[in-house]
Symmetry: C2
Subunit: 330 residues, 2 copies
Amino acid sequence: VGKGRLPPEFDLIARYFAPLAAPAPGALGLTDDAALIDVSPGHRLVVTMDALVADVHFLASDPPDLIARKALRVNLSDLAGMGARPIGYFMATAFSDQDEAWLATFAAGLQEDQRQFGLALMGGDTVGTPGPLTLAITAVGEVRAGRELRRSRAKAGDVVLVTGTLGDGALGLRALRNELPALTADHRRSLARRYHLPEPRLAFGRAVAEQGLATCGMDVSDGLFADLGHICETSGMGAEVELARLPLSPAAEAAVRVYPDLRGLIYAGGDDYELLLTAASDRAAALSALAGSLGLRLTEIGRIVVGNSVNILDENGKEIIDIRKGWTHF
Amino acid sequence: VGKGRLPPEFDLIARYFAPLAAPAPGALGLTDDAALIDVSPGHRLVVTMDALVADVHFLASDPPDLIARKALRVNLSDLAGMGARPIGYFMATAFSDQDEAWLATFAAGLQEDQRQFGLALMGGDTVGTPGPLTLAITAVGEVRAGRELRRSRAKAGDVVLVTGTLGDGALGLRALRNELPALTADHRRSLARRYHLPEPRLAFGRAVAEQGLATCGMDVSDGLFADLGHICETSGMGAEVELARLPLSPAAEAAVRVYPDLRGLIYAGGDDYELLLTAASDRAAALSALAGSLGLRLTEIGRIVVGNSVNILDENGKEIIDIRKGWTHF
């Protein structure tokens, strides 16, 4: 693999990847053609795949453990968006000029997140590329059949809720690019941290699905409005969102106060990896209690309405942005 | 994605990938975060992942439909090696300078093989890269629990069998590089075809697994001796193979007659995607009959012995190559 700076593929696998597969008997020690996965009775498998290219989806200069963890977490966030429990993941890596020290740190990052989220490497492929470092991860989880969170079931009158805070990831990328010099170092660090290490809302997503509390769920990766647009389009509904209700971290508050032009990143920046839910309004209290029990912020930001647009309302309920049809184009 | 020669990602997905997902309800029209897969009762999931980089694993100038089909087939061959029935696949594509006509042909190739092998696209990711076109495919299948073909169960006295013919893929790559000018055009075409379009032995692998006819099974992708070495190492056994018995196509026969230096490609070239089996000798007749019923050539090429090396014997039973310990290094 690579340009000769890394050991041969079999050594790499034995040294760095097989230990990551040790907790999963179905990975067969990474010695077979494929992995075996047993699905719990009454459950179905949930599978998602994301690809990341250096200097497109992350900075090649980012610490390798953070590159690994973010690559894994964006996939875990997709599982959270379906309400699934993670089982394992498959990883294809195309190495360019990484050396063994880089790889050791990369693997340590995966090990840390495997422990944190309770899954294991189950297979994959390791190749070399003359291009930039490229990663593809396929994450596998399971969900009780029929309980998975979908995008197509929002109903008029449902409340719209979102976990955590919005915009930190997109602002964090700007902080890392030194585009936010007027912020305090603490704020810049905290935003950068959220860019590097999103928090997949697995425990919450899984509990919401198990308890059947939501009509729709998905993770926010393209930006709140785009992703709410996906729910509205798939459900054949519209939505109203109150701008003033969008949950901001102190660092994001400071950023949009100092750089008002960046306000759009809150709802259109992407890289949030929070959970977006719609739910019957009589479930809002139960959802709040559940989030509270997990120490997770959950904010009601609007409602589902009959229509085909996502309307953004100011403090006086006046429509300030009307995102009309054509969800797939923004 | 790409460098602006392709339409936006959502359009690409709607136009070229969603039709490939249509046969799979669990793909949810590629509109959700992840796909849902139901596993048949008493079965387990088999998952494999392979990555391919242009001009490393295929020629960037190869016809796009053949690139697509080979990428899919090398994964299907891994499923065949476990005895699994294919369900679906996930594909991450990093496009470089491909245009829409290229992509249309690429998708048509996938469509053709989906029909042939009975599976559907279930998800994935589409990104751009400044590097070479890069593909990662994760294929998913199922196998009756406990019936999967493994590498660890070869016993002394087992016969070693291989489907089809060996060396064609590796020789085909040489033919495509114009390194076999002394062959007839027909022979060169036939070898090139085998390089571009391997035949995953899915029906045979699945029947062998269902009927419990083999002790071990895997697909030959690294070359016969390397892969038999994997079986021997994992099983704690050795093997003897008779060189004269290795099954060759007429084109490969001609190639090694005219270019005797290329003989090693037959057993060490890789890119064969045939099925390698070990079986109790009293199962050989049943395996032969099964292969015959599928119109598939199956050749007994040697036997499993106590030991830790793969020995290659000439026509007189004299040992001509002794591949000793250290399987993972060749």
